[in-house]
Every structure is written in C-alpha cells, then in structure tokens.
Amino acid sequence: MKFCRQTLTEDITQYLCEAIEEFSTEQHLDTSFSRLGLDSTGHVQLSAIIEDHTQTEIEPTIAFDYPTINSLLQFLEGKYQQVKEIA
C-alpha cells in the first residue's frame, strides 16, 4: 500500500473542485461530502481515486463511512501504519 497524505489530499480536492462548485480546501476539510452536494456516485468515485493512489483494493463505500476529507485521510493513515508494521 502506498500513502502520501499530501498527494492524496491533492487528488481528492482536485476531484471535488471538478464535481462541486465553490469547493474550498481551506473551508471544507471537515464538511461532509453530502453536505457539499456530492451525490452517491460521487462518493463511490472517491473510492476509485483512493484506489488509484494506494494501489490497493478499497471498499466502494469508504466515503460513506468516512464522510469528510480529514476523517478519510485519518483512517487511511492508520491503515497504512498497520500495513507497515505487519511488513
């Protein structure tokens, strides 16, 4: 599993900027995706972006379980640490 907080944040925000008008990285790190107006297909798209980044299988529903940028990154960071320890 690969993980770089900064690049992944960039990938996610780039997608959200395309999908949601007036998305702002400064203001919306802790705003839920559905409050931002992201539909369910958009939520699933986030999982594909994370898959591309981490090069591992990611549950399609991950953005429903961790519905903000910060909570998603925190979860993934924890997962990454675990994988590293096992390796």
């Binding site: 999908a19 008008e21 107006g37 798209q45 594909a48 898959e51 299988e57 399609p60």
Partner: protein
C-alpha cells in the same frame, strides 16, 4: 423446449445433458477472483436447498431473500422456484431510506423467514435492532449453515403458482409487489429468446443487481434457460470503475449485456481517456440492451463513438421496453438494428398526433413488439383505442403479464384488469406510459403522471428541463424542475432552475430569469409563467437523483 412448463425443469434437463458446462460465473474483482458453478453443481445445490425449504414447511409461503451479489442468491432463488416457495428478493443496503423501504416490504408480505448468508445476517440484525430500539427481531434466518440430510421427493409445482414477488422501484412509502407466476417466468424466457434471437448456450450478464427485474429475469434466469452462462459482478464495482463492465464483457465473450441508459452514460463520463483498454475486444457484444429508463440517442452515440475502436458495433444497441408487471420484456430489436428514432412534427406532437417530419421532435424507438403480446394505444380517459396516428396510454395483454400487486386488490383491478370501451373482454395491464405504435414498433413518449397539459398542449417536463439545463449559467448536474401549478383556476407552467452560485452573486436574478424565459420560448414556443432561480442543491431529489417535481411546488 416449449413442451416444458417450468423453468426449473428446463434447467434440470440441461444438467442431465451437459453436467460439466459452466452455468454461472461470478467475478467480484479481477479475473483471479472468479468462481463458477457447473450445471451439475448448480442443480445439486438447488435440489438440496429446495428439500430443506420443503421440510421446513415453506411451500407456498413467502420468504425474503437478502443477499449480497453472489452465487448463493442464485441457488436460493432457484430453490424457491423448485420447491414452490414464493421468493421475495430484496436489496441489502446500508442506506437508511432504502432500509426503511425493505422493512415496509417485509411488513407488507408478512414474511417470517429470511434466506441470507451468515455474514449478511449479522449486519442486518444489527440494523434491525437499531431501528427497533435495541430489540431483537423475530425473523427466522436461514443461512448457509442450515442443512438437511433427509432425502425427500420434492412435491410438484404447477405453472399457475406465484413464483416470486418483484417489488418495483415505486415511491419509498408504497412499494408495489408484482406477483409473477411460474408460467409468467417461462413465457417471458420464450419471448426474450424469440425477440433477441439468442443462440443456445449464450453468455449473458453484467453488473445489474440480482434482486431487480432486469438483472434477475434478463441476466440471471435467461442464460440458464438457454443452457448458457450467467456472468456477473457486483453493481458497486461497476459504479466505482465502469471499465470493469467492459472488461467483463470482453473477457467472457458476453453476447448480451443490459443496462439502463445511466449505465452507458456512466461509462462515457467516467472512463478516462487515459485508461488503457486497448486489449479489450467488444465485438462479442451483439446485444447491448438499453431499458428500464428512457433511452437517450445522444448517450448511445457518445458511447459508440468512445468504444468503437474496441470493436463495439453501434448496431448492437438494443433499446427495449418492459417492466416487472410484464415479468420483464415487451419489445426490442430485432437484433442488429441499433438505435432507430423518428422525427415528428412538434406542434402536432403536442396535440397528441404523430406526424413524421424531418428536423422535429426525436423519439427513440423501443423496438419491435414481441408477437406474443397484444398492445393497444388507449385514450386514458375514455378507454377508447386511439387512431393509428395518435398517442395514448400503452395497454398490454399476454401470458407474461403478472397476476397483480400483492395485497392491493383495488389497484390490481384498475391496473391489471382494465377493459377497453369497445366491449372487448380481454383484461389489459395499464402501463401508465404514453406512446404510440408504428409498423409494429413501439415508441414511448413519457409517463402519464408527468404529462403536463398547459393551454391545450401536451408537454413533457424533461424536454423543457433539458433546455433549462443547457443555459450557460445553469449549475452542473440534474438541476431543473418543470411542473404545472394552479392560479385563479388556471393551469400555469413553472420552472425551478439551479444556477451557479457565481452567476447568482454577479447577475441580477431578473436577468437570469429573462434569459431562461427567452431560451424556453425559443425552443418550445411556450412561456413559463413562473421561474425561480436557486443555488445548487435546492431542488428536492430522490435518493437516485431524480427530481421530485411535485415537491418543487412548495418552493414557489
């Protein structure tokens, strides 16, 4: 095959003739994750499961099936057909609104037992006890660990028995359960084979959910009837990465794969140009069926433009018409004709008349009506048959027409036993769809409920909504609703349009409204009486993203 009266007897014959042929292939992820069942394995599992259900006393009782996408669902669903247990396939969901719908259905059928997997049961029990304020549910859960060693003869099942209840995607509060008999199922298999010309042994499948009519009847049951192979993947994997659908088709040489228009659109929008698909070969895909939603000629064109270099043949497009109430299939094809559309004179069309004219309103053809159905175009008020050049409600009679809605006698009488004004005693099923027929081909123009009659003209909201969405300051997405309202006992036309926040802060609303008014007048020659411009996200929508037009009235 015609002499067999039940689908399960046909499948058991296949198992005897070619036991080693693969019947189902489930590929949850990459090719290495695929699992398969041969006809022999499938039938053995179905037999033992059917015996269990008979021993437990579920014959002619309702039983819910709550499964994640997989082989287990196929076995248990067929076991119900084999044992004469009435299957109620339902959606396993984490969405609270959808789960509420599942609960409504369980209450409607008074189901006591649920067929499922041990894993799913854990999740569901937790969801249920949350809803019930911590109380355990009273359901009897039958998972893969239930076995019987007792050998019994499975009592015969007769064709007129209800085989399963197909809940339709009506509103959340009042889902309707369509009662489909064993005879209906077999008849619709014959209908599909005749209309699509599937060869024996055809490979059919894709990503459609197994609990829903098109996935269940069209993808899962049909290939098993044809001694073919049902190939499938989880719907969510498709949503996540739509190229997986195309890979599945290429890898398994799928002959027929269906999706609503949305599926094709999803591929066009989300498969990136940069993704390397060059080793795919879609030339095997002879029937790209498009149904259950209005078919967009534009989407079909974009799709074939994007994927023809992978061997996709645009003549494989197969727009079709059908619904759970007719088991599934009513019209489509013939194979190889692609997307056909008619151009009609707009003014006549809005008066309910069909007059072919170049550069007019385009209506996509839903294919040839299968000859086993009697289809009538009927005036929905007078119940008289329309003239051949008029649009009206589509009424259908035939052996695939289901028995009605479970526990809804009144609605069953009005919707399934409608009689024409001319004295014909045939009961017809009212589809609620408006359309017309031309040379044996069916054309659907919209839902009756959505038809807007304003100043003597018949208008469909989606046409005007599309125009509003094309406005340069319109917000992205499905953000326009057009509907009628009554003022001073007159019917008036209104639109609510989502406009970008940027435009809302830069421009006076009056200017935006005038622009929209001009745009609609120019395209449709009708004036909007009221226009509201709102920020994105204001228009109420269903969980699947469809605009709730009636709820929009409250915004005015």
């Amino acid at each position: 095959m015609r002499q067999c009266q039940l689908l399960m007897s046909v499948i058991r014959e296949h198992a005897q003739r070619e036991p080693e042929t693969i019947a189902c292939s489930f590929q949850p992820r990459g090719p290495e994750t695929a699992i398969h069942l041969t006809y022999q394995e499938l039938v053995d599992r179905v037999e033992s499961r059917a015996k269990l259900l008979v021993l437990l006393g579920y014959r002619q009782k309702y039983i819910a099936l709550l499964f994640p996408t997989g082989l287990e669902f196929i076995v248990d669903f067929l076991a119900c057909l084999r044992a004469g247990v009435i299957a109620v396939p339902l959606n396993v969901t984490r969405n609270a609104k959808q789960f509420e719908r599942t609960l409504t259905i369980l209450a409607d059928t008074k189901v006591q037992a649920i067929l499922t997997t041990a894993d799913t049961q854990k999740t569901l029990s937790k969801q249920l006890s949350e809803v019930n304020g911590g109380h355990e549910s009273d359901f009897i859960w039958i998972d893969e660990h239930y076995r019987t060693l007792e050998d019994i003869d499975i009592p015969a099942v007769t064709p007129e028995l209800v085989a399963f209840i197909q809940y339709t995607s009506g509103s959340t509060s009042s889902p309707k359960g369509v009662m489909v008999t064993q005879a209906n199922v077999l008849h619709n298999m014959q209908v599909m084979q005749a209309s699509c010309q599937h060869p024996k042994g055809a490979v059919v499948g894709g990503w459609l959910p197994q609990f829903h009519d098109m996935g269940l009847v069209g993808h899962m049951l049909l290939p098993l009837y044809l001694a073919g192979r049902y190939v499938f993947m989880p719907p969510m994997s498709f949503i996540q990465r739509p190229s997986r659908w195309l890979k599945l088709i290429s890898q398994y040489r799928i002959f027929c794969s269906a999706a609503p228009n949305f599926g094709y659109e999803h591929c066009v929008n989300l498969i990136r140009e940069s993704e390397d698909l060059s080793d795919l070969d879609l030339s095997c895909w002879k029937i790209a069926l498009n149904g259950s939603e209005p078919v967009s000629a534009a989407t079909m064109q974009q799709f074939s433009h994007r994927f023809y270099h992978l061997g996709f043949d645009h003549n494989a497009f197969f727009p079709s018409y059908g619904m759970a109430e007719t088991t599934l299939f009513v019209s489509g094809g013939p194979q190889g004709t692609g997307v056909q559309s008619l151009s009609l004179d707009k003014a006549s069309f809005e008066l309910g008349k069909v007059e072919v004219k170049p550069d007019g309103v385009k209506v996509v053809c839903c294919g040839a009506i299968n000859k086993d159905f009697t289809v009538r175009v009927v005036n929905p008020q007078t119940f008289e048959i329309c003239r051949s050049n008029e649009t009206g409600e589509i009424w259908i009679a035939g052996e695939s027409v289901a028995q009605g809605y479970l526990n809804q006698t009144a609605k069953t009488v009005t919707d399934f036993q409608a009689k024409l004004a001319n004295g014909d005693t045939t009961p017809y099923m009212r589809t609620g769809d408006m359309g017309f027929m031309l040379d044996g081909q069916l054309y659907i123009t919209g839902r009756i409920k959505e038809l807007l009659i304003v100043r003597g003209r018949n208008l469909y909201p989606y046409d005007i909504e599309r125009t509003c969405r094309s406005y340069r300051y319109a917000a992205k997405g499905n953000g326009a609703a057009v509907f009628t309202f009554t003022r001073d006992s007159k019917t008036k036309l209104a639109a609510v349009v989502e406009v970008s926040r940027q435009a809302l802060s830069d421009k006076p609303p009056r200017q935006l409204i005038n622009d929209l008014k001009a745009l609609v007048t120019e395209e449709h020659e009708i004036a909007l009486d009221r226009i509201l411009v709102v920020p994105p996200g204001t228009i109420p929508k269903t969980t699947s993203g469809k605009v709730k037009r009636t709820a929009c009235c409250a915004l005015l």
